[in-house]
Amino acid sequence: MSTDPILTVSGITKTFPGVTALDNVSFDIRRGEVHALVGENGAGKSTLMKVLAGLHQPDGGQILHRGQPVSVQSPLEARQMGILLIHQELSLSPELSVAENIYLGAWPTNALGVLNKRKLRRDARAALEALGCGFGPDRRVGTLSVAMQQMVEIARSQAFSADVVIFDEPTASLTDTEKDQLFATIRELRGQGVGIVYISHKMDEIFELTDRITVLRDGTVQGTVTTADTDSTAITRMMIGRTLEAYFHKAEIAFGAETLRVEGLGLDGQFDDVSFAVRQGEVLGLYGLVGAGRSEMVETIFGVRRADRGRLIWQGREIPLPTPRQAIDLGMALVPESRKEQGLVLMMGGLDNTTLPHLSSYATATVMDRGREMQVFDRYRKALAIKTTGPDQPVSTLSGGNQQKFVLAKWLCADPRLIILDEPTRGIDVGSKSAIHELIAELAGRGLAVIVISSEMPEVLGVSHRILAMAEGRLVGEFEGDAMTEENLIDAVSHHLANPAAQ
């Protein structure tokens, strides 16, 4: 491994309205190294990655590529320079062949625009073989598995002689064998002298694969360390950077009666055999990696998805699997994972969004009562300190934190008995974050049952009274009191096969 930097980032700053996503970020990538980029959600990893790939333009700072200052205006330019981004959502065309996808936008043609299919196929085959892919260049990409599709993207590194390849959570939807293959490929790239940026939440992968680690927190670099000289505790400490006790507030109250009991809930292809209960005044954490089936599971409880099997016992009585309408009427609330796609109607104002799940409650004989709507809107605007110019300002124009507060308002205003929060603080600023953490404690204090899903370890440890760990569609552990530690949670989700569900 040489120490010759291939890409140097110095003093990069990027602000969005209301948030400083990157603040004077500097780090470098050397030839033939795998460089991990870690941090909590919202720490700025994906913004940094998008700056490198030309999807965002930085407000300040400099990028040096092979010692030359460059300005990456578009993904195309990045690729031409040799910087390749492997997205979480793959950027492939399923209808085109493997070869066509590898060379997308740069196909060999003659002067008349006729494809030179021979050359295309030959080059693509060479790229695939260099990485040891087990499929040919003529396969239609739509027929490939996710892992194979990922290999097609990686093969672009060969085709365009990339010297920097950025992986964004590449193992999120891979099986263990596929992951091993991917790692072999990444090592192969490293052997070729490519500088690799590896973004991941998974500590075991980072320590298995990477040479150096750069930690981001709240848009700033906390430090770059050599992987061999550190351990996961040290890295986690750098990521969190604060003591949990001081930051989170847990209501210390006696739990009441069981609000919801779930028995043997299953949805084919997503999750199975899920059983647990949550009580009044309790904050139940649900920890697991992306793709573990957590969101699917709570969406099934809430009725957005139809369960294949299982029973729900609501406040001591068995109920039929509800539709969302019935779930809401029972007193359930679900703050979904994706604010923009599932939580809000972006072109509507805050008032319309707030009352959307409970329209009939604000209507007399189906005619909306604007006065009552205004009352509840004003109440929650004050209570949650939402910054908006008025009831009709489209929520699309608000900051992420304020949008999330409207999602909370829309569920809190009906006074639910159970509130499920799916990644409630993803992508919002620190201030709003702690406000939401306080709100969770307050809700539990009022006797609500609360389920919090989070892939942020400190958050889930900080706010929960009890934590369920979930992996690959199963509950794989339950932790309470002193057993609620980072090690135990990581252990549970990474060794779930050896350590089956406790319930």
């Binding site: 599932q342 939580g343 109607v345 959307l356 329209l359 209507a363």
Partner: protein
């Protein structure tokens, strides 16, 4: 300040251009802005206008209804033919029922089964035209006692000097606007078109919202058919052909987005009325009727482009 004027122009440029057009025609043709002519225009747009009110619901849910042209033909044939067999009152009820039923079929296929709205309503356009020929046996139908029936009131009579079809149009628009802006269902229509997923997460049964929107579109088409039958006192097999295009043109001109989630009944009324005045004005100026089509083309493109320009962030492609 200049940007304010620019924004104002973009937002109201369409109305401004329309005003200039009105003024221009009024100056060169005295009759244009006379009360009689204005009522005439309104009467002419009442049929498309009533239909457009219903279609606005469908378009706000993010769907389309191309079947209304054939539906109008079929329902007009039905109302005229039934008038001869069971009398006006029952004929009207049957027609309204048939409109609701056809709307329900559209709504079931698009909303409940989840098929592509464009293709489904295109298929219905063809299917219903077939049904027209099946029902009428290929011949035109006429109201037998055209001079004496009270059925004439819907298309031919006036109340307090205002033609009844105009009143029907107005009432339909008022009810439509009220339902859309003030009721639970109206809110659900906007939510469904704005973000179907978020609406489902909010407990809204979006398939049924789409379903009922198509039913409304069927119902308004039935009302339009009653006006049409009454005005013509008969029905040819192609009487409603092409109406779907005029109605959509009016809805689009009013600024209701085909992507769903935004729009208003009053803007639709405005769009349809503007088309009516353009048509009337061009005829008064002595242009043959088909020149209005050319103008409609230009107006639609200009209107939508201006509208987009006013809202545009950065658009890919």
């Amino acid at each position: 300040m200049t940007t304010d004027i620019g924004a104002l122009l973009r937002r109201h440029g369409l109305l401004l251009g329309f005003g200039v057009f009105l003024l221009g025609v009024a100056l060169s043709a005295d009759a244009f802005l006379s009360p009689g002519n204005i009522l005439d225009v309104l009467r002419q747009v009442s049929i498309t206008g009533v239909m457009a009110v219903g279609v606005t619901f469908v378009v706000i849910t993010g769907r389309l209804d191309l079947s209304i042209g054939s539906m109008l033909t079929l329902l007009t044939v039905i109302v005229v033919d039934q008038h001869n067999s069971v009398g006006p009152l029952l004929a009207i009820l049957i027609t309204l029922g048939a409109g609701v039923l056809i709307g329900a079929v559209n709504g079931a296929l698009v909303g409940l089964v989840g098929l592509n709205a464009l293709i489904v309503t295109l298929a219905m356009l063809s299917f219903l035209q077939g049904l027209v020929l099946f029902y009428s046996g290929g011949s035109n139908v006429n109201v037998e006692n055209a001079q004496t029936t009270w059925f004439a009131v819907f298309g031919r009579k006036s109340l307090l000097g205002i033609p009844v079809p105009v009143l029907i149009f107005l009432v339909t628009a008022i009810i439509g606007a009220f339902v859309l802006n003030r009721t639970v269902f109206g809110r659900q229509v906007f939510a469904t078109g704005g973000n179907g997923t978020a609406s489902r997460f909010s407990g809204i049964a979006t398939p049924w919202v789409v379903f009922w929107s198509y039913v409304i579109s069927g119902l308004t088409t039935a009302i339009a058919a009653i006006i049409m039958g009454s005005r013509v006192m008969g029905a040819q097999n192609t009487i409603g052909q092409g109406y779907e295009l005029t109605v959509l043109a009016g809805v689009i001109l009013g600024g209701t987005s085909l992507l769903g989630g935004a729009g208003s009944v009053w803007r639709t009324v405005l769009g349809i009325t503007m088309l009516g005045f353009i048509q009337n004005g061009l005829l008064l100026l002595g242009f043959p009727y088909y020149v209005q089509w050319l103008v409609t083309w230009a107006v639609i493109i200009a209107a939508v482009w201006i509208d987009l320009g006013a809202k545009r962030g950065r658009i890919l492609a």
